[in-house]
């Protein structure tokens, strides 16, 4: 009982330290909201209104029909019509257009004479992902054009056709993938920073030694310092979740309990890492540096933007140490795939282990790394 009272007192003091200062209160509340909204809209792999130019040397109706189909797609925006070959390079070089479609003078004639008509497509490959996506859209448009042309002219279509059906995200919206990821990203950043500075700040101010000579046992200090981080993380995380469901309208199909079990374990591991960094750091600058050194790789290697399966084997092993990696599988699984506890078990236990190991180390470091 006595121990509980002491822990509550310490936790209350920690919360007060963070919340009583106007500036630090502000940095906890405003940036996550702004970031969620800005990043939620910005982080997209979809192509919208991508500018393209047309160099059409053909006078026939078929070429106009094909170009109209491309220009009519919501993904592309016809910016310019060219009449010289020399105009192509500057447009692409200066990034004024992403691609140029070139139809030769014999395009319609070839098509009528049932030869292969060629549509040349020049794409800026500086961002190779965008280039591949644009090419993918164009392929679909051309395939549709071909099918319709074949039907109108009584030609045989291809003997076998693909019917692609994406599950869980039928219209392939990238925001359904990215926005739930941002929930994990922002909670991780906030929780880690709050805890990473909590011990370092006291060491720098010299109050940590005072804390150590109070009746508080190290385990109680550990708990007292973890609770505020977890609380802040839970509150902010829940808020961002609400925004994801009601503002971004990402469908929440699975069990909320499974999601919150995941979030609690995720916060525990983040707090563990934060406290561990904090107890290693002598100054706040080192605390921030440590938080950075942990945050940046764990975000980039978590599968947030680029799939883990694309990474080399060695790097894939490193990702196992990032708690965000597991939480992203949980949150996307619960949101889109409707997962529940059983399917997510393999994501729960690694976070519990990461949390436990780091908290133990942090507790040990409290006692054995005195300030100097």
């Amino acid at each position: 009982m006595e121990a509980l009272r002491r822990i509550v007192a310490l936790a209350a003091k920690e919360l007060l330290v963070i919340l009583k200062d106007k500036k630090s209160r502000f940095v906890l509340i405003a940036p996550p909201i702004v970031q969620l909204i800005v990043f939620g809209y910005a982080a997209t792999f979809d192509l919208n209104d991508i500018p393209f130019a047309v160099y059409n040397q053909d006078r026939g109706a078929a070429s106009r029909e094909l170009i109209a189909r491309v220009a009519g797609s919501p993904h592309f925006h016809r910016l310019a019509d060219l009449d010289h070959e020399q105009q192509i390079a500057p447009l692409l070089d200066n990034k004024e257009v992403l691609m140029v479609m070139r139809l030769g003078p014999r395009f319609s004639a070839d098509l009528q004479r049932k030869r292969n008509a060629q549509a040349q497509l020049l794409i800026d490959g500086r961002n190779s992902n965008t280039a591949l996506l644009a090419l993918g859209y164009l392929r679909t448009i051309v395939a549709d054009f071909n099918a319709d042309w074949a039907k109108q002219n009584g030609l045989p279509g291809p003997p076998a056709q693909l019917q692609v059906r994406p599950w869980f995200n039928a219209s392939l919206l990238s925001s359904w993938f990215v926005v739930p990821g941002i929930v994990g990203l922002l909670t991780l950043v906030i929780t880690t920073i709050v805890t990473a500075l909590s011990v370092a700040r006291e060491r720098e101010a010299g109050t940590f030694d005072q804390l150590l000579v109070t009746p508080l046992r190290p385990i109680e200090i550990l708990i007292g310092k973890s609770v505020p981080g977890i609380l802040i993380g839970l509150v902010e995380g829940s808020f961002i979740l609400l925004m994801t469901v009601y503002w971004f309208e990402v469908p929440l199909r699975g069990s909320i309990g499974a999601l919150y079990l995941g979030m609690s374990l995720f916060l525990l591991s983040a707090v563990g890492i934060g406290l561990m960094i904090s107890s290693l750091a002598v100054t706040q600058q080192q605390g921030i540096l440590g938080a950075f050194l942990f945050l940046v790789p764990s975000v980039l290697l978590s599968g947030f933007a680029t799939p883990i399966s694309n990474m080399p084997e060695v790097v894939q092993y490193i990702t196992l140490a990032s708690p965000l990696r597991y939480f992203l599988v949980i949150i996307r699984g619960v949101f889109l795939e409707g997962d529940s506890y059983a399917l997510l078990f393999d994501q729960y236990w690694p976070m519990a282990i990461i949390g436990a190991v780091n908290l133990t180390l942090a507790g040990w470091l409290f006692r054995h790394r005195m300030s100097y």
């Binding site: 997209t44 190779s128 693909l162 019917q163 950043v189 975000v299």
Partner: protein
């Protein structure tokens, strides 16, 4: 003449003091050199959008020569690691359990339809959670299918024509290696971090430790304090930058098609912007906790998401596109991706450099204004 000599002396003293501080607390050196090294190594190898060996379930309900030739086409492709399943149910379970990423489904009537009526259908199911990955995978599957179709038509002597054939040519990155555009972008993201981190705490630290008052009673002017703090960190930051460019060229084999000197000049400009941003944060915050928080919030994630390094700026909604103009990394990403991959395209290099120059002046000017000598 006398005043400038005194100024020079004070400035040298300040630079010397900061340099000593850097040398005695090696954490700044770690930030400038070890961090970019580790980060670039991790991300250069780790961050990739090129899918290879995608686990793919292949369901063949009635195996025969035709279906074997189609599954063989998938087996030979570098992009896929196919696994055979007997029933669609088993394959769907594997998809649910994330054991496979997609399913190619040849129903029992596939060959019959193909030979007799020429309207066979191949069912493809993809895990659409990661929309980008799903689109790229669908593209690869399409590629395999089309190649197989042409081969099949030839062996059967079937007349099969594609009315319009698309001939794509991808400029600047013919092999479509995502690393070639990610590494130059990563340099911008990493260097924003490093630059801002180096300086974001240095003024706040003096306030918190109470040494700012000590500096104030000396004859040194506030501008001299700021310049004295900038110079040593600029040297450190440029060292880190050079190291990163070297790694891009020799470790990751990214071609440098533009001029090295243009890249160096743009890098120096960008480094000044990042340092100026850190300095501004530092003068605003006055406590290391807040300075650290702000510098993480305004550097890493915005540079990662809003710079165009990975997400195309043109696809973002209009208001967000306006916001990206406030992100210095945006300009440097454009410069470095262009100089590395496309060459000296001056309109892009110069206009973005001009934007960087304006940002630098604004940041340094604001920092100068905020850091007036006063005791509150």
């Amino acid at each position: 003449m006398k005043a400038s000599a005194g100024s020079r002396m004070r400035l040298c003293g300040m630079i010397r003091k900061e340099s000593l501080q850097i040398l005695r607390d090696p954490s700044s050196i770690a930030i400038a050199f070890v961090m970019p090294l580790v980060l670039l190594l991790l991300f250069g190898y780790g961050v990739s959008l090129d899918a290879k060996h995608i686990p793919l379930a292949i369901v063949v309900e009635q195996p025969d020569a035709t279906s074997t030739s189609l599954t063989g086409a998938f087996r030979r492709s570098d992009y896929f690691t196919p696994r055979n399943f007997d029933s669609i149910q088993a394959a769907q379970q594997a998809l649910d359990a994330h054991e496979v990423y997609g399913i190619v489904w040849l129903r029992s009537d596939f060959s019959r339809h193909l030979l007799a009526r020429g309207d066979a259908r191949i069912g493809v199911v993809l895990n659409g959670v990661d929309a980008n990955q799903a689109r790229i995978t669908a593209g690869y599957i399409q590629g395999v299918w089309q190649a197989w179709l042409l081969g099949y038509a030839q062996t059967q002597g079937v007349e099969f024509r594609v009315p319009v054939r698309l001939e794509p040519r991808i400029w600047f990155n013919a092999a479509v290696r995502s690393r070639d555009f990610l590494v130059p972008g990563l340099i911008a993201v990493i260097m924003t971090l490093i630059g801002a981190m180096l300086t974001s705490m240095v003024v706040a630290r003096e306030w918190e430790r109470g040494t700012m008052e000590a500096l104030m009673v000396t004859p040194i002017r506030i501008g001299e304090i700021l310049v004295g703090k900038l110079v040593p960190y600029f040297v450190l930051g440029m060292g880190g930058m050079l190291q990163s460019v070297g790694m891009a060229l020799w470790l990751f084999d990214v071609p440098l098609r533009g001029s090295f000197w243009a890249l160096s000049a743009a890098s120096a400009l960008f480094m000044m912007v990042a340092l100026g941003m850190g300095l501004l944060i530092s003068t605003v915050a006055r406590s290391q906790f807040v300075a650290g928080q702000i510098s993480i919030v305004v550097t890493f994630l915005p540079a990662f998401i809003l710079s165009g390094f990975i997400f195309q700026i043109g696809s973002m909604p209009e208001p967000i596109q306006l916001v990206t103009h406030l992100i210095p990394a945006r300009y440097f990403v454009a410069i470095s991706q262009t100089l590395f991959l496309a060459g000296n395209i001056w309109p892009i290099v110069l206009s973005n450099s001009a934007a960087l120059l304006v940002m630098m002046l604004i940041f340094l000017g604001l920092a100068r204004r905020n850091a007036r000598k006063r005791l509150d």
